[in-house]
Symmetry: C2
Subunit: 336 residues, 2 copies
């Protein structure tokens, strides 16, 4: 297929190349009627601007990058849907890149984005990320970055987060209210701000209810399901004191916890009650149905996308922070 | 941060700009020793090539695009992990774009990819896709395309698929073996080749077991969960003949089927037996655990990525087709 050029459009419409170019850039110098004729023909002939040439002239790519640890997690897949719902309406192209929770991947991706490929970036940092130089390199080249959910505290960038401290607190207080006294907290990375805030909420709820917080009740889970399964099984086998409640701070621990309870013939909620941070639609059909802290994933994606669009248009949003609260949904796993 | 230029590298190493440029392009004109000096300094100074300038000269972007309907489905998220495991090892950058099952989105994404942004594309078509002009436009511009899982038959492109006919057959035969006689098939798009093949397998299994295939037992599901729920409930409420088995052809119908059975107080597997095409890890902890047709998602991703790399390197893979079989895993939902 031959590429349709601006020159061909000009010839066809008997207009100058510069008029066509200005019409395509929506210049105020060109009348609405002419613009419409140009756009109609461009559409008919499937004209595509050369993005490199445009970019070299400093034009925007109308593309944004979304950098997330993974997509095999319903929080991220829902958040991406929220992001795309906003970006599509504004005619932006969305490129998704995965870090797989690895810092070196995150650096490579952001390096790629430095070369003018994208007008802005939405990101949730990996669990390994401690240093923000790669993010600052990007913002210093005028590529705005907006964090959503997972923030790197040391980087000053606008952010859309949820109330992780309050959610950790609510999950724990709910278990205490249901009679639990030995509550295990299953955490992930210690460097991740959201994970720490959820754990602080857990600690505070215990303290407010005059329950001792023993470090033995805090399990640091990893990226390896088999290892997590062993760790969860080990703590559930403990006799004195016997755990009677679990706060699982990430969705993928759901299967681990249910599987370990099944295999140990522990009955949920009779023997152990479970709350999980999860957006899994399937939570309702588990047996028993799962009590969740459900995050406003779609809404957070939407809000982050809107904030990034403002930043791309040059509005100063540096200090912006929006907190969209999560919701505790009590179900069968904490009944009784 | 100031951008490091080829000129700066040349000055630093006391070499010509053209030598640096050739070394970076791995030209045979430059000695291995010089190349190594150049690459070492480039890494130290965090030199990044200008992708637009390089692309205009016809250099590769070392980036591939992955076009899938969605990521809120464990098949696609696992397949993406397979793709990235190959591409990362080869130093390729992976950009993921979602069509949300809409043909117009798919066209927009492929149009974007026409401008030299990517060296090749891996895709699974949307359920709306009937026409392949947008795919041909890409391949005509020497951007190779490899299909995985969802193929558009009318486009001649290499493909990695699974044995959908045999899987639909196996799911149905398994239900018949377990005593089912009125088996409902929950399908999705009629234009999607995989969906049709699965349904043909269902029909063939019924025929081979001398069971009548009535069109009333085939339900066309949509993208709307509420609508699917109503349709599934309606067919399960049918008295004569009463359905006693369900083949659900896509993962997201799992929650719908379980929810409808729960709400109608139908017990799985006693009242109705269920097989679902699904890669959900959580299938094991459903109640009852779910019998699945599990697709080799990760392996299909890996194989598709390897095939695309061959195509990018200029190997002729036009007619290539690889079939990686799916596996029936019997569990509680078809027991007894």
């Amino acid at each position: 297929m031959k590429q349709v050029t601006i020159r061909a459009l000009a010839r066809e419409l008997n207009l100058s190349v510069s008029t066509i170019s200005k019409a395509l850039r929506d210049s105020y110098e060109i009348s609405a009627e002419t613009k419409q004729r140009v756009l109609a023909l461009a559409a008919t002939l499937n004209y595509k601007p050369n993005p490199y040439a445009s970019s070299l002239r400093g034009k925007k790519s109308r593309t944004i990058g979304v950098v997330v640890p993974e997509v095999a997690d319903s929080f991220f897949s829902l958040a991406i849907n929220g992001i795309e719902s906003v970006m599509k309406a504004m005619g932006y192209h969305v490129l998704i890149c995965l870090t797989h929770e690895q810092f070196d991947n995150e650096q490579l991706i952001l390096n790629e984005f430095q070369s003018g490929r994208v007008d802005g970036v939405l990101m949730s940092v990996s669990r390994e990320t401690l240093n923000g130089d790669h993010i600052r390199s990007l913002t210093e080249q005028d590529v705005p970055v907006v964090f959503f959910d997972r923030v790197l505290e040391e980087v000053q960038a606008p952010r859309i987060v949820t109330n992780d401290f309050e959610s950790g607190y609510a999950a724990t207080a709910h278990l205490i209210e249901k009679g639990c006294r030995e509550i295990v907290y299953l955490g992930i990375s210690k460097s991740l701000s959201i994970s720490n805030r959820r754990m602080e909420g857990y600690r505070q709820a215990l303290a407010d209810h005059r329950l001792k917080c023993t470090e033995n009740n805090i399990v640091a889970c990893t990226n390896d399901p088999a290892e997590n399964y062993r760790a969860v099984k080990k703590i559930l086998l403990r006799k004195a004191p016997k755990p009677d409640g679990i706060v699982a701070s990430v969705e993928k621990l759901t299967t681990t916890v249910y599987q370990a309870c099944n295999d140990l013939r522990l009955q949920i909620p009779r023997d152990v009650k479970v709350v999980c941070f999860s957006n899994l639609e399937i939570a309702t059909i588990l047996h028993p149905s799962l009590t969740t802290i459900t995050q406003p994933a779609f809404e957070m994606g939407r809000a982050a996308a809107s904030l990034l669009l403002k930043a791309i248009k040059g509005t100063d949003v540096k200090g912006a922070e929006m907190v969209i609260p999560s919701v505790l949904i009590p179900r069968g796993s904490t009944a009784g």
